[in-house]
Symmetry: C2
Subunit: 459 residues, 2 copies
């Protein structure tokens, strides 16, 4: 494709993109398609000959868009609501054009140093100590796996050599994200060695249960090595009592990993300081700008105070000849710290977002999302047919119709089939509840009001 | 950012992108900057207040671009040469705007089914059997880690439960990519259990050495579980003798993973059939459209004939409530097959590339790259001051000046300091050699000729 053909097509695509962002409320949030519909609509074999870009773009609009669940819709309230903001998209456009792959500093000096700079800015905004090292991963799942790997390396360095280890025990709340289990399974920790510590009535890990589990494991000859505290659990956005967990972990030499994938950005708000007390003492911490920081997927940040352990956990016997570079104090080779060698230029979009909104602009939006969540919670409490199912510490509201689980499942189906909003569900205290997560930068009070009207009308 | 502000900025950005692609030969390929220069040029703290997009874009041009090593430059010949093609960039623009995260079918029906469709098209072009399941990962490192994990699951299913396993032995050529070692380390295989099998004079794994290593390990009470064959090694693009490796592996019940991250696309060419004989019998196979298939980073494909083992390797005790969905035969939930839960809509750019070029168009470009590599090799052989250091089965040329290693290091420095081309280096048979990898879609014979002139003038 010649640069001029690209220019023409890209201008056309940009107009579609801007129209899409402008008209996004006209799209049904949840795709209304049957499984297999797109597979059946597309040819079973790839094309022998090239096709004009105009035909491909036509098919994109005609075949792909109707099958899209619109994550960038302001009334996408399922899972966690996310945003591809304008500056974030612009950053991705430029990054994909330059196609930088900065496995080594030399392969991408600007990409490497912009990652260091943006993660340093965010570190300060989060009031984390200067020695915290930051690295970008694709997802929190991958980031947490690397944190658990570093914890394994610290507790059992011989594993990297022999592959052997004593039974290493990992602790997490029963509300921890499933990716913690997956990461640990991959690393060879074993499912029997994952302790899901009971939570209190407000879904927070019970420190006394953590401590007794650790002691029981030690008594049984096992080796506790890691505890994962979650600040903003997936089901209910509860925050584990980090300071108490840290105190217990320190007594037993456990690595403390904090999963703040969703909640992390809220640490920028003064009023949330208490909720995040202790994050400056964690061994590692993950937060996702692609969740609640207006950055297109994917971009997850892993901070650690022990980068040397993280690096050692993947240290090869020798660096292959094709990757050898002159060592330089200020030339960071990020791939030393991850399983993946290749790395795309993700910090560019983050830099655009941080600069375009600024700290105060970001804080303003997050605060508004938390206000909207509390406003919705107040409406729910004021309607005798509904009940809140959990506290609302961040921007997620868990609630249910005061009826059977089947009533609530039917409610869920009607809301989502409307195309006007998309909520998800979970199970709390054995009951089926709806989850409404606020987090898209374009979401307004009017969107919340319209959705609440829809919910009440769908009963 | 309002849709109209986005529209204006995006049109401006598109013009920069098209100009960049048009003028890219005017940029120095390798960034000519000192480590730390960008960090020093940027503020130590992030901005309190938001800034206009125009200032951010100005800084992008002024501060970021000079620190970029231009991977999309037609004379980027280092590592492996890659391409962000026009259609690929257009796909990324649309994907980042919609911001789909298709962890479940429901969360992204079109993204899920387009991944199935494009990977099925490519599977047929590669003449792989119908039962091959394909999944997109970020990089080949991650994909290979998942393949080795599945191999571990097959050989030692109890590991997922207890974390315990006998000494599991992995075999790979001494020229296998370092990511195989890293992935295995992460999975708890242990460095002592990685066997780097010697290669022959043309850098291909010696089957007899593989078999004797397996037998020695069995005799020592260890458990061979996986062999990685590379088709297109990183240093020299040698291809391991896959059919012989398969025969040995079958006798000993080893999982065979084929790393064709770079070489894979060349299997589309009839004339390469012999080189790829056996890929249809592998247990898993990785190839990277973001390397030699004109797709912007990142997009790596993992195929396996044993998806159920791959899925089981990460099976949780129970699916968390917030991820539970109705099961449907045709609704694939890709996150069941990977550590990462989140997945961005990567297949869109691949679909654009496959359709825009078509199979024949892709074959034409790959064939031209291989022709250019052989042409350069012939020029090198015709110049008595230089020598080829390895055969040229694909599009990489390894060569050296007939002088000392220091002479060649100096040559490397002069070529790359010129900004006109960027080559990398490796060590072969104990000697420092230059690597010139052809793979960018815009590279012409004139680029190769100009670079060869530059090399000769730099002696």
């Amino acid at each position: 494709m010649s640069p001029e053909e690209f220019r023409a097509a890209a201008h056309e695509v940009v107009d579609w993109m801007a129209d899409y962002l402008r008209d996004i409320r006209d799209y049904p949030v949840l795709a209304n398609v049957e499984p297999g519909a797109l597979i059946d609509a597309l040819p079973a074999q790839g094309p022998e000959h090239g096709e004009p870009m105009s035909s491909i773009l036509d098919d994109f609009k005609k075949l792909i868009v109707p099958g899209v669940t619109h994550w960038n819709h302001p009334r996408f309230f399922a899972y966690f609501s996310i945003t591809a903001s304008g500056p974030g998209i612009l950053g991705e456009m430029l990054a994909s054009t330059m196609n930088v792959q900065h496995m080594l500093w030399k392969a991408g000096p600007a990409a490497t140093e912009l990652e260091q700079t943006t993660l340093n800015w965010l570190r300060q905004w989060l009031r984390l100590p200067e020695e915290y090292f930051g690295i970008i991963h694709d997802t929190a799942s991958t980031a947490s796996m690397h944190a658990i790997l570093a914890a394994r390396e610290l507790a059992s360095p011989e594993t990297r050599l022999s592959g052997e280890h004593p039974p290493l025990i990992l602790y997490e709340s029963e509300h921890a994200h499933s990716s913690i289990d997956k990461g640990a399974l991959a690393l060879g920790i074993g499912r029997d060695n994952l302790r899901h510590i009971a939570a209190d009535s407000e879904f927070r890990m019970i420190p006394a249960k953590l401590e007794s589990a650790i002691e029981a494991d030690i008594a049984a000859g096992k080796k506790p090595f890691c505890v994962v505290a979650t600040l903003g659990t997936t089901s209910v956005t509860s925050a584990d009592p980090l300071l108490q967990i840290l105190a217990i972990a320190r007594r037993h030499n456990l690595w403390v990993h904090v999963d703040a994938a969703y909640g992390g950005p809220a640490a920028l708000l003064e009023e949330n300081r208490a909720l995040f007390a202790g994050i400056d003492q964690a061994d590692s911490l993950v937060l996702n700008p692609h969740k609640w920081l207006f950055t297109p997927v994917d971009l997850s940040i892993l901070y650690t105070r022990r980068p040397e352990i993280m690096r050692r956990s993947l240290a090869l016997e020798q660096i292959p000849a094709y990757l050898q570079v002159a060592q330089h104090d200020r030339a960071m080779n990020y791939s030393d710290y991850s399983v993946n060698l290749g790395r795309r230029f993700r910090s560019l979009k983050l830099w655009f977002v941080l600069r375009y909104y600024g700290r105060k602009g970001i804080v303003r939006v997050l605060r508004e999302h938390m206000r909207l969540a509390k406003l919705l919670a107040s409406w729910i409490e004021a309607d005798s047919r509904f009940e809140l199912s959990a506290p609302v510490p961040f921007s997620l509201v868990c609630f249910r119709f005061k009826g059977s689980d089947d009533d609530n499942r039917a409610l869920y189906d009607r809301i989502n089939a409307s195309g006007k909003a998309f909520v998800s569900s979970t199970i709390l205290h054995g009951k089926y509840v709806l989850r409404l997560a606020i987090g898209n930068i374009a979401t307004t009070e009017e969107d919340i009001r319209l959705t609440w009207d829809l919910i009440r009308a769908s009963v």
